[in-house]
């Protein structure tokens, strides 16, 4: 992997996600650290990415690399883990029944992905769908339901749903900018995941070796 990407772009991208992911904009700005459950989800996400080949930790840290390169690799892994935890924290509603439901939804989806072990492209697509749908539900659907200035339809829907959920559906009213900040934070996080060094599997290695052999043979033939 490119030195600059490993030393600058990825850590700074993930650290920015850590900063913005904890930002809650109400009448004042509050920075919230990730919850314990988000840390668990972040660790699971790390496991999913390694298992599916979207992240090759051995390319970031191994005994053959210089110490400074291993430190850079460690920083990438650590910031990626924290950014993952904050991304889950950001996409999860803050209170009530939605908080519980989203947490269970994320846990089941990650465990399911871990068991299915899809390839890198599929796991990245799956994460985009997970975070995208959570974003729509939290910042568009739930925010609209929690808006006290909503229309008649909102009041009817809320009356029905609040009854079913024992009044735990509505969320604290966030500033309109909160959704925009969350959107760009999640985009940044997914971009960071796509930039991670992918694991080279043994089958890819054998293909690489045979390709290299073919190239070497053709070069020898040309020289002769």
């Amino acid at each position: 992997m490119n030195d600059a990407r490993e030393a600058f772009y990825l850590p700074l991208l993930f650290l920015t996600v850590v900063l913005l992911g904890g930002m809650r904009i109400f009448d004042r700005i509050v920075l919230l650290p990730p919850s314990l459950f988000s840390l668990v989800l972040g660790l699971l996400l790390l496991g999913v990415l390694v298992r599916c080949g979207a992240l090759g930790p051995e390319l970031l840290m191994n005994s053959g690399r210089p110490a400074i390169a291993n430190l850079n690799g460690f920083v990438v892994l650590l910031t990626m883990f924290l950014a993952g935890a904050q991304a889950f924290s950001l996409a999860t509603p803050d209170t009530g029944l939605p908080n519980l439901l989203f947490s269970v939804f994320f846990l089941v989806l990650l465990l399911n992905t871990l068991a299915a072990s899809p390839d890198r492209v599929r796991v990245l697509r799956s994460l985009m769908v997970i975070f995208g749908s959570a974003f729509i539900l939290k910042f568009i659907v739930l925010a609209a339901l929690s808006d006290p200035e909503g229309g008649r339809l909102r009041r009817v829907l809320l009356a029905l749903l609040e009854g079913v959920t024992l009044g735990t559906l509505t969320q604290p009213l966030a500033h309109p900018a909160a959704g925009y900040v969350a959107f760009f934070t999640l985009i940044m996080f997914l971009t960071g995941l796509a930039l991670l060094p992918k694991r080279v599997t043994s089958s890819q290695l054998s293909v690489l070796s045979s390709d290299q052999l073919t190239t070497t043979n053709s070069q020898l033939r040309t020289e002769n």
């Binding site: 030393a7 600058f8 850590p11 700074l12 920075l31 650290p33 920083v75």
Partner: protein, 167 residues
């Protein structure tokens, strides 16, 4: 090879610096850019209040114009990093909120927050302001008075309360 080493070392330093800044932001929860810059300046001992605005605030405070005094004190200490200014802000909330029959709880709550800020900003949590105009010279006394004003107990029903004096 050497260039790669430089890139990696610089990247590591920048990442660590950025991480420290983020941790600082999480701990201090600043609400404005001036609080961020003031807080960072205070960390390296380079923070200074606007003395002219502070003097103006003091003049207004002594003449009983507490709201205007707070505006001047806020201008003087925009980052909320100076213990003495925060003490005077707390005192202005106390004097404005104090009442012979009852106190204004909202003002006392804001005063208590400012007094707590002043104590947190003081070295070893001890702040003494030598001002002959004040009935309470330490932040601890002020905090205790504000807390007592917010407390609900039997003494609130004592009719002799009307004879107490504002400090």
């Amino acid at each position: 090879m050497v260039q790669s080493l430089y890139i990696r070392a610089l990247g590591l330093a920048v990442s660590v610096g950025y991480a420290v800044l983020i941790a600082w932001l999480y701990v201090h929860q600043p609400q404005s850019v001036s609080e961020v810059t003031g807080g960072l300046a205070a960390n390296i001992g380079a923070y200074q209040i606007d003395q002219q605005a502070f003097d103006e605030g003091l003049r207004l405070f002594r003449s009983g114009q507490f709201s205007a005094a707070r505006a001047a004190f806020d201008r003087a200490d925009a980052a909320h990093r100076d213990a003495t200014t925060q003490f005077y802000i707390a005192y202005s909330w106390y004097r404005e909120g104090w009442g012979r029959i009852y106190n204004d709880d909202q003002m006392f709550t804001l005063g208590l927050a400012a007094a707590n800020r002043a104590i947190a900003l003081s070295p070893h949590g001890i702040l003494r302001v030598e001002d002959a105009d004040l009935g309470m010279r330490t932040a601890d006394e002020l905090r205790a008075e504000l807390e007592a004003g917010l407390r609900r107990d039997v003494s609130d029903l004592n009719p002799m309360r009307v004879f107490r004096q504002r400090k």
